[in-house]
Symmetry: C2
Subunit: 476 residues, 2 copies
C-alpha cells in the first residue's frame, strides 16, 4: 500500500492586506472570503480529506486562533492535531516544528505543507499534482508546486525550471525568483517559469537533514519547541522560549534557495494566494461590467469594481477599478492597482493604536461571540450570543454593573450564591463586585443585550475564578 | 427711514444629491455640511439677521420638518414665522404663498426669497447686493441675484444681461438659460453671463401682479392656501387641498422666463448651491493633495478626494477624484465627475423601498432623538436621548414589551397609574399593553437604552393618548 501523505496546514498569518474584513483578531484564513460559507482554512482541510491519500492533518497556528482552528476543523469533520505557536515566526519555523512533530510520531512521515489561505479551483488536478510530487519526494527531494501563469502577475514569486528528474513528473529547480515588475513578469511567462504556490512536499527525514545542513538553528529551535510542548485541552502548546528565540524567516529564504534538493512539479489547477483585494476580485465571478459585489450593494455606472458589504448598504456611482469594503466599524476604498498598499495602511493604523486595525467589532469567543453595538462616556451596549452548551467564565468586574436582557433562548445566570433561569423578555442585574456566570443550557443560541454602566468599561476589568476553556489567567 | 426687507427662506427640499448624509427624513438644509456646527438653514437665517435691514424672517418648509425649522431658528436667535407646506410643490408656489402671507401682514412688504441650502462666503458683499437689489425692486422689478462665474460650471443656470436700469446697479434680464454643457459654459463665461443663484428680491405687490398676469392659478392657490391656513403650536399650517391642487413648478419656469419685469444685480460674493458632493468638495478646504476629509479618515496616496465619515473609520488608498461618504447604515463611493448621479441612485433605492434611501438610523423627534443600534428577529435595541424638559407621548404598544436602562440622567417614568423616578444604572420594565410615558425633568440630557422584545416591532405599533407636541394622530 502507498504511504499516506501527512498534511501540515499553516494557519498563523494575520492577512493584513485583506483588512478590514481580515484583522489580527480573526484573520483571513478563518473567514469565508470567496463564494460559499466555508473559510479558506476549511477548504484547505477538505482538499486533503481523502483518507486513501492523506492521514489526518497537523495544523500549526498562533495560540490566539486555537478555538477558530479547532471549531472550524470540527465543523468540516476534520480530525486535526493543532500545534500552537506562542509567537509569530514565519513559515520556516512552522515547517521545521511540524516536521519534528510528525517525525516523532512516524520517522517515515511524508509531509505536504500548505498555506491555509490559498484558493484551489480544481480538486482532481490538485490531487494529481500531490501524487506526482510524492513520487519526486521519494527521490529525496523537497518538492515545490509550480503553477502555470495565466497572466504576468507581479504579486507572485516565480520558479525557473531545471533538468527533468528521471522517472517522475518533476524537474529540478534552477532558481526561486522574487516578485518581478510587470516587464520582467512578461519575460518570465515567455521563458516558461512557473508561479511559486508556496506548498511543499517532502519526507520528514529529508527535511530534517536539509535543515541540519542549511538552517541548523531552526532545526534546533523546532526540536526544543516540540520537546518542551505541553497539552492544553487537546491543543499542543509549543515551548514559548524555544519558539521565541528562533529567527523569523520564510522557508524559501531559510532553505529552498540554498538546498540542492529542490524540485518542482507543475500544478495544472487554477490557484490564487488571495493575497490582496485585487486577487479576490480576480478570482470572483463578475457581472457584464466586470463588477463583483457581495452583500447589500447598489452599483450605478460602475465597472471592474469589487464591493464587499456584509453589514450595511454600500453604493458605488461612476467608479472604475475600485475596491470598496465596508464593515460595521471601518471602510476601505482603494484603487485595485494599489491594493497591495493596504498592508501599509494597516501598519499606519496600528501605529496610531486604532482598535479597528486589529480587532473586529464582533469578537469571537470559545462560548460564542459578542458585538459592541453602542457606547458612550459611562456606558456600553453589547449583544452576547452564547452557543448551546456555551458557558462564560465565573467572573467579576470592579468598575461596572451589567444589565442583561434575554432576547432569545434561555439563560442560566449565577450571581454570587444564587443560580436562576432567565427567559426571553426577562432581565437580570449584576452589580459591580458580584461574582457571576452566564451559561446556555438550551438547544438554541442564547442572545442577551448587555448594558454596562460604570466609570471604566475596558475588557481587562475582569477577574476570572473558573473557566471551562482554561482562560483563567487571560483577558479573553 | 428705509423700508425693511422681509426674508422668505425656502427650506422644503429633500437634498437627494447629498445622500446618504442628507435624506428625506432630515435633509441637507438642516445639516452642518460645511465647516462649523451650523446648518445652511441657520447660516441663511444669520445672513438676514441684521434688524436694521431685515424684518424677522418667514420660513416656508414641509410640515415634516417643522420641529427642525423651529428649533434650529431658536438656536440661532431668529424669530421666524414658519409656514408649513402639506405637500411638496417647488419654488413657484412657495414664493407665491409666502408673498400672499406677507402682503396680508403688510401690503408694502419688500421680500427677499432665498433657498435655505446655499452657501455665501462674504456677508458684507451679500448685504451690499441686497441693498442694490432693493433699489431695483423699487422700480417694480423682480430682481434676481447673478454671481460672476469662477469657472465654467455645468451644474448652474446662467443669466444673460440686458440693458442697464437707470439710477440703479441693476440690469434687465435678457434671458434665463438652462444648465449648459462644458463648451457652452465656457462661451457663457466669455460673454459675461452670470450664474443664477436663485434668490429674488421683489415687492409683494409687484410679485402678486406678475403672478396674476403669468401664473394666475398659482396666485389663486396661494390665496386659498393662506386663507385656509390654521395655527398649530405657533406654526402656520397651509390649507392642504388648495396646496395639493396647485402645479409643481419652479419660479423660473412659472414666472421669471415670462415676465418683462425681470432684472438682475451682480452679487460679488463667493457662492455655492451645495448641490452635489462635488460642489461640497469644491467649497471645502483642501490639503496639499487636493483632499478634503472630515471625521476619522486615513488617506494613503489619495488625491482630489472628498471623504466624509462622521461615525466610523474610513480609509482611502490610491484613489483619485472620488467622493467617499460613510454613515452608520449606508456608504456612498462616487467619482466626482458623476456626483450628480447620486440623485438617480437615491431614486433607485426609493423604488426598492430601502429605508436607508429616506430615513436616517438616528431619528430626530421634538423631544430629542433615538438611534437604532441593534436588531434581530424578535428584538430591537434603541438609544433614546431626551432633551432636558422633553417628554415622549403617553402611549402604549400592543406587540412589544420594553426594557429601559438609564445610562445617563434621571427619568420620570409613568406606567399605568404609577409614576416613578429612575436613575442612572437603574432599569424599568414596560409590559406590552401598559400605558406609559417617559420624561426628562432634569437639567442634563437623559439617555436610555431601550430593549424591545416582541413579535412585531414596527414604529406604527403605537397608540398615543396625549402629546405635548400635538402628534396624537400621527406615528411620529
Amino acid at each position: 500500500m502507498e504511504r499516506k501523505i501527512t498534511p501540515v496546514i499553516m494557519a498563523g498569518g494575520t492577512g493584513k492586506r485583506l483588512w478590514p474584513v481580515s484583522r489580527d483578531g480573526l484573520p483571513k484564513q478563518f473567514l469565508p472570503l470567496l463564494a460559499g460559507e466555508r473559510s479558506t482554512y476549511q477548504e484547505t482541510l477538505l482538499r486533503v480529506a481523502d483518507a486513501a491519500l492523506f492521514t489526518p492533518p497537523i495544523v500549526i497556528t498562533n495560540a490566539e486562533y486555537r478555538f477558530f482552528a479547532e471549531q472550524q476543523a470540527v465543523d468540516v469533520g476534520a480530525k486535526a492535531t493543532v500545534l500552537l505557536e506562542p509567537v509569530r515566526r514565519d513559515s520556516a519555523l512552522a515547517i521545521a516544528t511540524s516536521t519534528v512533530f510528525a517525525y516523532a510520531r512516524d520517522p517515515r512521515a511524508l509531509i505536504l505543507a500548505l498555506a491555509a489561505d490559498n484558493a484551489v479551483f480544481d480538486l482532481d488536478l490538485f490531487l494529481q499534482s500531490c501524487v506526482e510530487a510524492r513520487d519526486v519526494a521519494r527521490e529525496h527531494y523537497v518538492v515545490a508546486c509550480g503553477i502555470r501563469p495565466s497572466e504576468p502577475n507581479t504579486s507572485y514569486g516565480y520558479i525557473a525550471l531545471g533538468a527533468a528528474i528521471d522517472g517522475t513528473a518533476g524537474r529540478a529547480v534552477q532558481a526561486f525568483i522574487e516578485k518581478p515588475d510587470a516587464a520582467t513578469a512578461a519575460a518570465y511567462l515567455s521563458a516558461g517559469y512557473l508561479w511559486n504556490s508556496g506548498s511543499l512536499m517532502f519526507s520528514a527525514e529529508v527535511m530534517l537533514g536539509e535543515l541540519s545542513r542549511h538552517a541548523p538553528e531552526l532545526r534546533h529551535a523546532a526540536q526544543k519547541a516540540v520537546a518542551g510542548a505541553r497539552e492544553d485541552l487537546g491543543f499542543v502548546r509549543l515551548d514559548a522560549s524555544a519558539y521565541g528565540a528562533a529567527p523569523q524567516i520564510s522557508i524559501d529564504y531559510a532553505l529552498m534557495e540554498k538546498t540542492t534538493r529542490a524540485a518542482v512539479v507543475e500544478g495544472r489547477f487554477r490557484w490564487s494566494d488571495i493575497g490582496s483585494w485585487d486577487a479576490v476580485w480576480q478570482t470572483a465571478a463578475h457581472d457584464s461590467m466586470g463588477n463583483s459585489a457581495q452583500g447589500a450593494v447598489e452599483l450605478l455606472d460602475a465597472s471592474n469594481c469589487y464591493v464587499h458589504s456584509p453589514d450595511h448598504l454600500t453604493t458605488v456611482v461612476g467608479a472604475k477599478d475600485m475596491i470598496v469594503v465596508t464593515t460595521k466599524d471601518a471602510v476601505l476604498v482603494a484603487s485595485r492597482a494599489k491594493a497591495e498598499y493596504v498592508k501599509e495602511l494597516v501598519q499606519i493604523l496600528e501605529a496610531q493604536r486604532r482598535p479597528e486595525a486589529t480587532q473586529h467589532r464582533s469578537v469571537r469567543r470559545p462560548w460564542g461571540y459578542y458585538d459592541s453595538v453602542d457606547n458612550g462616556p459611562r456606558f456600553q451596549v453589547k449583544r452576547l450570543v452564547v452557543k448551546p452548551g456555551g458557558t462564560l467564565s465565573l467572573q467579576k468586574h470592579l468598575h461596572r454593573s451589567e444589565h442583561w436582557v434575554v432576547v432569545r433562548g434561555t439563560a442560566e445566570v449565577t450571581i454570587d450564591t444564587d443560580v436562576k433561569v432567565v427567559r426571553e423578555n426577562e432581565s437580570v442585574y449584576i452589580p459591580s463586585g458580584a461574582i457571576h456566570r452566564l451559561a446556555n443550557l438550551g438547544k438554541i443560541p442564547l442572545e442577551i443585550i448587555e448594558v454596562q454602566t460604570g466609570s471604566y468599561l475596558g475588557e481587562d476589568d475582569i477577574e476570572r475564578f473558573a473557566d471551562v476553556y482554561n482562560r483563567v489567567a487571560m483577558a479573553v
